[in-house]
């Protein structure tokens, strides 16, 4: 079975081909083109979608080329139907619908967040993990129970990715700027006290963001360091709470912020204390990519027929805990 997956929820347009044999997936190709806003600015949905339109054909043909397959060999197609930016989502959906109707392939709308989780499970081999999903669109703690991913904790305002991006932008970086913030933070070890807000299993970052900005006027590195230390300590604490509450023996971290080394180190230490296995998605697949969408669609195809073209809409705010999972 050969699947094609298309991702276009935010700044990334990506196509990937995965081959499935006896239940195991192998990524044959995963090609990405990332929209970069000007320094100090965030994603402009219109500009990002224009970027996707302009690059979609090239990304698709390169993806087929690298996988050394023809589009006629592809058995099914999946696209990210949400959550994400409307104009960007529509680009992926249009590409997927066109291919599906022209080549008569079954088409699967996929929840982007579940894509992160499923690819993470495929790559790390985690069986029944507590999942920390940290990206620009999500900050959630999840565990699978009774056919659905259930939310054990989440952010009540902005996400961890947004915290790092918005802070980075205020320093003049272009988003996504988690790496720039991380780099600057590594040059300091001077902690400035910032608001620490954990409410049960939930976190809130907006106060932290406002409080960190004035610190940056005095010393940018100290501000980055203190921001990361505070935010990551909050996340790690909720992870510890959820680990001891759910008694899961694995923690899997997925999403763009999973690439941050400091966060991984803190989570790794927390897992050690709870004797849990720490599964981090390989950095190359932590961010948004077509493989996530492709693999999730292939899992769904085991129990579901493809969607009717009329049902292949996009849903900008499609929460993952509303998706029933039957595979």
């Amino acid at each position: 079975m050969l699947g094609l997956g298309i991702e276009s929820t935010a700044h990334t347009f990506s196509c990937a081909i995965i081959k499935e044999r006896s239940g195991r997936g192998r990524i044959l190709s995963d090609v990405r083109k990332i929209y970069r806003p000007p320094d100090g600015e965030g994603i402009h949905p219109r500009e990002a979608s224009r970027h996707h339109v302009e690059n979609s054909a090239a990304v698709l043909s390169q993806c087929l080329q690298e996988a050394e397959v023809s589009i006629r060999d592809v058995d099914m197609i999946s696209y990210a139907a949400g959550p994400g930016l409307g104009p960007c989502l529509r680009v992926g959906a249009v590409v997927a619908r066109s291919l599906a109707s022209y080549y008569g392939m079954p088409i699967y709308p996929v929840n982007h967040a579940i894509g992160h989780i499923e690819l993470g499970r495929m790559l790390t081999g985690a069986a029944d993990p507590l999942v920390l999903l940290v990206s620009g669109g999500h900050t959630m703690l999840l565990a699978f129970l009774e056919r659905q991913w259930r939310v054990f904790g989440e952010t009540l305002d902005i996400t961890l990715g947004q915290l790092l991006d918005q802070f980075g932008r205020s320093l003049g970086f272009a988003s996504p700027c988690g790496r720039d913030v991380e780099l600057l933070a590594s040059g300091s070890s001077n902690y400035v006290a910032l608001p620490y807000s954990v409410k049960g299993n939930d976190v809130s970052f907006s106060g932290l963001l406002s409080a960190a900005k004035p610190v940056a006027k005095k010393n940018r590195a100290d501000a980055c360091y203190s921001l990361q230390e505070t935010a990551f300590a909050m996340i790690t604490e909720t992870v510890e709470r959820a680990l001891s509450f759910t008694r899961k023996k694995e923690l899997m971290i997925v999403g763009g912020v999973a690439a941050n080394r400091r966060l991984s180190a803190m989570l790794g230490a927390a897992c050690k204390r709870h004797k849990a296995r720490f599964c981090a998605v390989p950095a190359g697949y932590a961010g948004d990519c077509g493989s996530q969408i492709c693999w999730t669609g292939m899992l769904e195809s085991r129990v579901k027929k493809g969607a009717k073209l009329g049902d292949t809409m996009v849903m900008q705010s499609w929460r993952l805990d509303t998706v029933r999972i039957d595979y």
Partner: protein
């Protein structure tokens, strides 16, 4: 001393205090945290927890009695409550006990205590009584918003960890809660709960 549980933020040991069975709750330094942030959190929570435990007890909430507090070591010695956390009980008992849990939450809120970590693991069934434990995140707060945060957490927990009994358990919890705070306050707070839920990402925005 025997380690009984490695909780989220503290280690729990069994010990004795002047002849009574006791537990020792130690918030050990977490090396992964920046050390000044770490000591600040541990110190604050130890002090707060012991204060709030005593406060809750004075209101008649079944809670462990505080025997001794060592701020330098971030440790609290307190009465041991034998029994099982509600989390581990059968679905039907969780449904039945939800009313009591709701009533206890209501009494705390009516008296300005926000528990801060209202989960089924922090209610312990001991004999016939339900005890409230772990006041590490609790605060003095008369604000309805804070009380709603408490309710939202227990609702989230029922919905995630006890999905099969969620509906009935939540209904009983609310009815117990209402019996303590009165129906006006109860509906105001429930309204705030749905407001907070709406703040979650992608929560039905329509």
């Amino acid at each position: 001393m025997k380690l009984v549980q490695r909780g989220a933020e503290a280690d729990i040991y069994r010990t004795r205090w002047l002849g009574s069975e006791a537990i020792l709750k130690v918030r050990k330094p977490k090396k992964y945290r920046n050390s000044s942030l770490d000591s600040q959190i541990r110190r604050q929570r130890t002090i707060k927890e012991s204060q709030m435990l005593s406060h809750a007890k004075s209101l008649g909430i079944p809670a462990p009695l505080v025997y001794f507090v060592d701020v330098a070591k971030s440790s609290i010695t307190m009465q041991r409550i034998p029994g099982r956390p509600v989390h581990d009980l059968s679905g039907s008992r969780i449904i039945r006990l939800s009313r009591t849990m709701g009533r206890l939450a209501g009494i705390m809120h009516k008296n300005g205590i926000m528990h801060g970590d209202l989960t089924t693991s922090n209610f312990v069934l001991s004999g016939d009584s339900v005890f409230v434990i772990d006041f590490g995140l609790s605060q003095n707060s008369p604000r309805q918003e804070d009380h709603a945060v408490d309710l939202r957490l227990i609702k989230e927990i029922l919905n995630s960890a006890h999905a099969a009994v969620m509906k009935q358990a939540w209904r009983n919890f609310v009815s117990g809660y209402r019996s303590a705070v009165g129906s006006t306050a109860c509906s105001q707070i429930l309204h705030l709960v749905s407001e907070i839920e709406g703040r979650g990402r992608y929560a039905t925005v329509i």
